[in-house]
């Protein structure tokens, strides 16, 4: 495992919910990242976000890490959940709330 992959592994496990995105929750730089944030806000959980535009190593490495070609990427308790399309499908089916509850993720304060 390269240093970058190990570093990404650390980031993924640093919080219960981690979103790799373009931009920040207040200023998302891409429509898909913006959608991912909107969904997480609706689900109402605390999450950490990583702006891949600020970190070229992570931006490239994350695609290899999860075998997933695009950003955003959502991780819950260290496990890759999917990108914004999957988040949207899961949210609409109520599965994202279920997943958070199952994994014991704390609601946002």
């Amino acid at each position: 495992m390269t240093d970058t992959q190990a570093r990404i592994g650390d980031i993924v496990n640093s919080s219960d919910v981690v979103l790799f995105m373009k931009g920040t929750p207040l200023f998302p730089q891409c429509g898909f990242s913006s959608l991912a944030i909107a969904i997480l806000d609706r689900v109402g959980v605390e999450y950490a976000s990583v702006d891949v535009l600020q970190d070229a190593e992570v931006r490239n490495g994350i695609k290899q890490f999860s075998d997933w070609p695009t950003i955003p990427q959502l991780y819950v308790k260290g496990e890759f959940v999917g990108g914004s399309d999957i988040m949207k499908e899961m949210y609409e089916a109520g599965e994202l709330d279920e997943l958070m509850a199952e994994k014991g993720v704390a609601p946002a304060a």
């Binding site: 429509g31 898909f32 695609k63 075998d67 997933w68 070609p69 695009t70 890759f80 959940v81 999917g82 990108g83 399309d85 999957i86 499908e89 899961m90």
Partner: protein, 77 residues
Amino acid sequence: MPMPAEEIQGLILAAFPDAQVEITDLAGDGDHYAARVVSAAFRGLPRVRQHQAVYAALGGRMGGELHALQLTTVVPD
């Protein structure tokens, strides 16, 4: 770098011959698409694996040449 819808459809069909593939050009610019793929090949696979299979069919273009593809995968009834 625009990519024609027919090319996307062709690549998906090559990997999933049974699939029904609907491509929508969202912005009319040949660069932002939505794809709905219905295939029995998805049966029993978690969503992440279904999407990964479609991305694999696109042979690395996703996230590069193809910036935006809103993907929906469906298992036929």
